[in-house]
């Protein structure tokens, strides 16, 4: 944690402690950054989420009280393909497209999720990597025609999707990742890897008490390419022809320069 972030944290923590509320228990949270800029030196980053639980009654029992943080990235369709061996070579065969897959998903909790709430609640709130709803998938065979896969098979594809995302460090689960400082203050670090998709993210903090969601706060987080990276990406997608022409002419110019240098020697 940088000194700058630590100061912000300490300041807000103090501010939170002085606030009193009429509710039984309420959350106050914030992120160390609301915007991540991907520049040419971007190799991933960490975001600090911090907050406090405001309690009216100081004597209230706080043992069965959990904080869960879920950070989700932009949702988009993702195709999962399964390789099969054909004539000795592994080739992509069946493909299953899930319509709404978060590009990024991180969950951190004060205790393991199983002991926090029952599965119905976790599924409803989409808390936990295995409880994210990817939507109804569409399966296609090697020939591209729609195909019906068994439910078990579809589960294999969903598991593979999660496994691949975890391997790319885009899906993370950190039970115990919420660190409490005393009774009310807590913080969590969210790892943002270098290959993170750009877009609008949401960091949602749940306060769960006795198996029920007592309070929840959602905070937006923008991750976007910046500077030259943003310019090149936009240029390549919005003005593809001009971009291609400039890239090729630039390369030709470099080749000509190389030739000129070669001749002088």
């Amino acid at each position: 944690m940088s000194l700058h972030r630590f100061h912000a944290f300490a300041f807000l923590a103090l501010a939170f402690m002085q606030v009193t509320s009429a509710h039984a228990a309420q959350l106050v949270t914030d992120l160390s950054e609301h915007q991540v800029r991907i520049r040419s030196n971007f190799t991933g980053t960490q975001i600090l989420l911090f907050g406090a639980i405001e309690v009216n009654n100081a004597n209230e029992r706080s043992a069965d009280r959990d904080v869960v943080v879920v950070v989700t990235g932009p949702v988009q369709p993702v195709t999962v393909r399964r390789k099969e061996r054909l004539a000795g070579i592994w080739i992509n065969n069946d493909a299953l497209t899930f319509p709404k897959v978060p590009g990024y998903y991180a969950v951190a909790s004060s205790r393991p999720l199983e002991v926090t709430a029952d599965i119905a609640l976790l599924k409803r709130e989409q808390i936990g990597i295995d409880n994210v709803n990817f939507g109804t998938p569409v399966a296609r065979g090697l020939d591209g025609d729609p195909k019906i896969l068994s439910v078990d098979d579809e589960k294999n594809f969903a598991k593979a999707l999660i496994r691949n995302k975890k391997r790319e460090k885009l899906y993370n689960a950190d039970p115990g990742g919420i660190v409490f400082l005393g009774q009310t203050l807590f913080r969590a670090t969210v790892e943002i890897p270098a290959n993170v998709p750009v877009g609008l993210y949401t960091a949602t903090v749940f306060l769960i008490s006795d198996g029920k969601v007592v309070d929840a706060i959602a905070t937006p987080l923008y991750i976007d390419k910046s500077g030259l990276e943003r310019f090149l990406y936009r240029f390549a997608h919005n003005d593809a022809l001009l971009y291609g022409l400039i890239a090729v002419l630039g390369a030709a110019l470099a080749g000509w320069l190389g030739s000129a240098v070669l001749r002088q020697r």
Partner: protein, 308 residues
């Protein structure tokens, strides 16, 4: 030092890319090859998505072939008429290649196809180069001169219609074979991100029976335009040309080529050619190995719609 590539969407080490550009540029200067067939697999090994490797590589091919073509132009060793005829085929070929690329991307087989085409060509070219250079080394040891390339012979290709006179090449042949060669190489260029000199040069020597002195210059002249067109089309169709990566490759390649050209005049050709052949074969084997061994994870994921 890491740098984030805006199109490939991942950070790479600048020095690794520059070193690769230098090494491949050195080899391309030394052997007069474009080097695309070495660079694209290297980029894929490094984790660059194959489609981005192919698209970006075309800019590097443009740079190195411009350097080469200018040198041959000054030596007036380019048959512009022949190059122009082949270019007609090349333009159609690269359109066809891009169309194939697009269809295969859609059905999720583009990575497989790139690997397969590379395995086939790297193995064939590597094996051919190795046998040829070994034979030359053995012949040199025994003191037997290599049989000279017999020009002026006729084969069945010379019986085809639409004949045209190519003064620079001293040929009077049908335009069908050069157009067909151009088409095939243009297609490979779009699919593999290569210039295709390694196919075109032997084809021009052995099939068209062009004089060796104009073959390399003419093929480079053709490559400049075909790979330029391919680069633009990859940009428009697939948005897979990474300007940042291309810049690093071009800088490394241009510098490396200068030293390669100078080294070529000092070092023994046949041994080096045998070494290049072994490198090419090993890369083919490595790619082939990846195709037949059971992958660590049978499942792979891709974004179904390119994000905007």
């Amino acid at each position: 030092m890491q740098i984030y590539l805006p199109i490939a969407e991942l950070p790479v080490n600048v020095f690794v890319i520059l070193a690769m550009g230098l090494a491949v540029g050195f080899l391309s200067g030394m052997f007069g090859v474009g080097g695309g067939f070495l660079m694209t697999p290297l980029l894929i090994f490094l984790g660059i998505p194959p489609a981005v490797a192919v698209g970006t590589q075309s800019t590097q091919v443009v740079a190195s072939s411009v350097t080469g073509a200018l040198a041959h132009w000054r030596n007036s060793s380019i048959d512009f008429k022949m190059g122009g005829v082949m270019l007609v085929g090349g333009v159609f070929g690269s359109f066809a290649g891009i169309a194939i690329f697009r269809v295969l991307t859609k059905i999720g087989q583009v990575d497989l196809m790139i690997s397969l085409v590379y395995v086939v060509f790297l193995s064939i070219i590597g094996a051919m180069m190795l046998t040829e250079s070994l034979r030359a080394i053995l012949a040199a040891r025994r003191g037997i001169p290599m049989p000279a390339n017999r020009g002026g012979q006729h084969n069945w290709l010379h019986g085809l219609p639409f004949k045209m006179r190519f003064r620079r090449s001293k040929l009077y042949i049908s335009v069908i074979p050069p157009i067909a060669i151009g088409f095939f190489v243009g297609m490979l260029s779009a699919i593999m991100g290569v210039g295709g000199g390694f196919i075109m040069v032997p084809a021009m020597i052995y099939l068209l029976r062009m004089p060796t002195s104009v073959v390399i210059g003419t093929s480079l002249f053709q490559i400049v335009f075909v790979s330029g067109l391919t680069g633009v089309m990859h940009s428009v169709e697939n948005q897979t040309v990474d300007a940042m990566l291309g810049l690093l490759l071009v800088v490394g390649g241009v510098i490396g080529a200068q030293y390669g050209v100078r080294a070529a005049s000092k070092l023994q050709g046949e041994q080096l050619r045998a070494m290049l052949a072994i490198i090419v074969l090993l890369m083919g084997l490595r790619l082939g190995f990846d195709l037949v061994t059971t992958p660590a994870d049978l499942f792979s994921i891709t974004d179904a719609v390119p994000h905007s």
